[in-house]
């Protein structure tokens, strides 16, 4: 419960909130001491006693008592770019920046119409792909299985969202079709895929599919996995969107029908925009989950950022420094996921303005 203060004096506020009686005071002291102790340990491990330079490797191997960030100094390119050829890693780096840039730009309201956003994504994605894959403009080709690290993680996330989102809209529309055989079939498909673990879907697409499909349809393992993942994403997202659609009063669509609007106009102008607004929080949630679960592809042998992190401490020199590498990878995940969820919060505020 929010308290109101006549006098917003900070000391008085602290006293009122944390030291108002004996129990409060005791609890504050105990938890405060615990927090301070944890924070102090973290700082002294991570900053004060830490070893920063790769040249000081022997110092941190034999106990400086702090974190050994030297491993990041020595191996950061491996963590960021995986098995991408060393001389070409600048391409992977620029590709990452491009991807972050298009994601950033598509958060700007100016881009929020079908033409601008698709132009942005097609150009951005084209640049990303040409940079990574090469083969044009005198860039040496680098095949998908040598992609790795952060750029692979971003690529998987972006492609899955890009393929999965339109698929989800189609699924959601089919699911609420007035013809029962369409909506029921779609319902069965969605529920079947939702009841399977993501890992088994990825495994099936990566490994079992090549035996079933004709050879011209197989494609690279990476794209099969991305397609499987997009399908999984679409099924969850379709249900989220359907929830958003069902929250709309039925009268709106009926009124539109009565005005003689066609199906696509009704969907495009009335249903979908409001459905997206209603479904925004779970949609952001779904994106966050999707970003984090890209790490599952490590099981099928892709060198995404978790795998390249594993490789970074996996040699005789840095074998002891797994905590630091995992902390670094966690930090990268945190930056992206936190940005994503802050953006979601901003969107919600913005849309709340529209509703008022």
């Amino acid at each position: 419960m929010a308290k109101t203060y006549q006098n917003p004096n900070i000391i008085k506020r602290l006293r009122a909130d944390y030291f108002s009686n004996r129990t409060d005071t005791t609890l504050t002291l105990i938890f405060g001491a615990c927090a301070a102790w944890a924070l102090w340990n973290l700082i002294s491990w991570g900053l004060l006693n830490a070893v920063w330079s790769a040249e000081d490797r022997d110092l941190c191997a034999h106990g400086s008592g702090g974190a050994c960030w030297a491993v990041i100094d020595a191996r950061w390119r491996l963590i960021m770019f995986g098995l991408y050829p060393y001389e070409e890693q600048w391409r992977s780096g620029i590709a990452c920046v491009v991807m972050v840039l298009i994601v950033g730009l598509s958060c700007v309201p100016w881009f929020w119409n079908a033409k601008r956003i698709s132009a942005l994504w097609l150009t951005g994605f084209g640049i990303f792909y040409v940079l990574m894959r090469g083969g044009y403009f005198g860039l040496t080709p680098v095949f998908e299985q040598n992609w790795g690290g952060l750029s692979l993680t971003l690529f998987i996330f972006a492609t899955v969202s890009l393929i999965g989102m339109p698929m989800a809209i189609v699924f959601a529309l089919l699911r609420r079709s007035e013809l029962p055989w369409i909506s029921n079939t779609m319902g069965v498909i969605i529920d079947t895929i939702r009841s399977l673990p993501l890992l088994s879907i990825m495994f099936t697409f990566a490994i079992v599919l090549p035996f079933v499909l004709p050879s011209w349809m197989i494609g690279d393992k990476l794209y099969r996995v991305i397609f499987g993942y997009a399908l999984f994403f679409a099924c969850y997202q379709a249900e989220i969107l359907r929830g958003g659609m069902q929250a709309l009063p039925a009268g709106q669509e009926e009124a539109a029908k009565a005005l003689g609007m066609s199906y696509w106009h009704r969907i495009g102008y009335i249903v979908l925009p409001q459905a997206f607004r209603n479904a925004l929080p779970p949609t952001i949630n779904q994106f966050v989950i999707t970003f984090k679960e890209t790490s599952l592809v490590v099981i099928i042998g892709f060198f995404e950022i978790l795998a390249s992190g594993n490789a970074a401490f996996g040699n005789s020199e840095w074998n002891f420094a797994h905590v630091e590498v995992y902390a670094f990878v966690a930090l990268i995940y945190f930056v992206f996921v936190f940005a994503l969820s802050r953006y979601g919060a901003y969107l919600e505020r913005r849309m709340a303005v529209a509703e008022r």
Partner: protein, 337 residues
């Protein structure tokens, strides 16, 4: 796991029917060998250096194989990053030509999964490491103490069997991941730590104070590691076996990466001459060029050099039974005639 096994077996049957052409021809035509890497790294066998290049004992064998087939590995070898679980399906589907990934030769793999194994190239022992301050000299001295092990691996089974057989009453603490097991041991939660010998040696060598830990001499179990190819392709399997044999033959005859040119110019015996391709025969029978063994040694050196470079020097692991029979080990070359 069971269902996966049968799925892989079924897939293997289907693939066996589909691939009539031998793998050696397929590889030669493609101009590239697809060999197994790792998703991440496996100490000593498949690691990645600062520049993203693979190295390690398994990787060297991949390089050697590519050099045997193509004359040199550069441009003819693709190391495919692959997880443990995925290596068999990938082999059957043709995503890999050969699995050189520290894989134990077990009966179920050999029979149910339709895989063919070469002669083992590495014999891995399970050992226990203990804190030196305990003064333990064998696993029996840990009676009444505790041993850390990772869950769901063959290591756990080996430890249980050994403790039962030797009537040692030690508490077994099971952890999920390799990192956790190590952390538990180093934080004194258990007196001993059981691991496969190469990673165990690596763990000791890179710990804060290696001299504070002793690796006990007991061998709790053995696992023979072999090169794996799909069943039903004897020519491709022959190439694997003769490649390994050549590495031991070179070692026993003192042929190294450094002196192979010299020896080839002046072969000490007709047999060595034939081995290095000065007289025809050694390669032709396998469908390779006659100087393939020369290319192999030129590329990666003999078995001893591969072992020293990847395992012995970085991790201070003695060769032990991975020596040639002349030094008390279990390896020997096949006869070159």
């Amino acid at each position: 796991m069971k269902y996966l096994k049968y799925a892989v077996a079924a897939v293997g049957l289907a693939a066996g029917v589909a691939q009539a052409d031998g793998r050696l021809e397929t590889v030669t035509e493609r101009g590239k060998l697809l060999c197994s890497g790792h998703n991440g790294s496996f100490l000593g066998f498949a690691e990645v250096d600062d520049k993203g290049n693979w190295k390690g004992m398994d990787i060297d064998l991949c390089k050697g194989l590519a050099a045997s087939v193509f004359g040199e590995s550069d441009g003819h070898l693709e190391i495919v990053p692959i997880s443990w679980a995925q290596r068999w399906p990938a082999l059957q589907s043709g995503d890999l030509d050969v699995v050189i990934k520290l894989s134990g030769w077990t009966q179920s793999r050999d029979t149910e999964l339709n895989l063919a194994f070469s002669n083992p190239y590495f014999v891995g022992a399970f050992h226990v490491m203990a804190h030196a301050e305990l003064g333990a000299e064998s696993v029996a001295d840990l009676d009444g103490g505790s041993i850390c092990v990772s869950a769901g691996t063959s290591t756990e089974r080996v430890l249980a069997a050994y403790l039962e057989k030797q009537k040692i009453d030690a508490e077994v603490l099971v952890f999920e991941k390799a990192d956790e097991v190590r952390a538990a041991y180093f934080s004194q939660r258990c007196d001993g730590l059981i691991l496969f010998a190469p990673p165990l040696a690596a763990t000791r060598a890179t710990s804060d104070a290696p001299e504070a830990h002793v690796i006990l001499p007991d061998v709790l179990g053995l696992e023979p590691e072999a090169i794996v190819v799909p069943e039903g392709d004897p020519k491709w399997l022959d190439v694997q076996n003769w490649m390994l044999s050549s590495l031991w033959f070179a070692e026993i005859n003192g042929i190294t990466q450094a002196n192979v040119d010299e020896i080839r110019a002046n072969p000490p015996s007709a047999q060595v001459g034939k081995f290095l391709g000065t007289t025809p025969g050694y390669g032709e029978r396998l469908g390779l060029s006659d100087d393939w063994a020369y290319n192999l040694i030129k590329e990666v050196g003999n078995y001893g050099e591969i072992f020293d470079r990847n395992i012995a020097e970085p991790y201070a692991l003695p060769r032990g039974m991975n020596e040639l029979y002349t030094n008390g080990g279990v390896f020997y070359p096949l006869t070159v005639d």
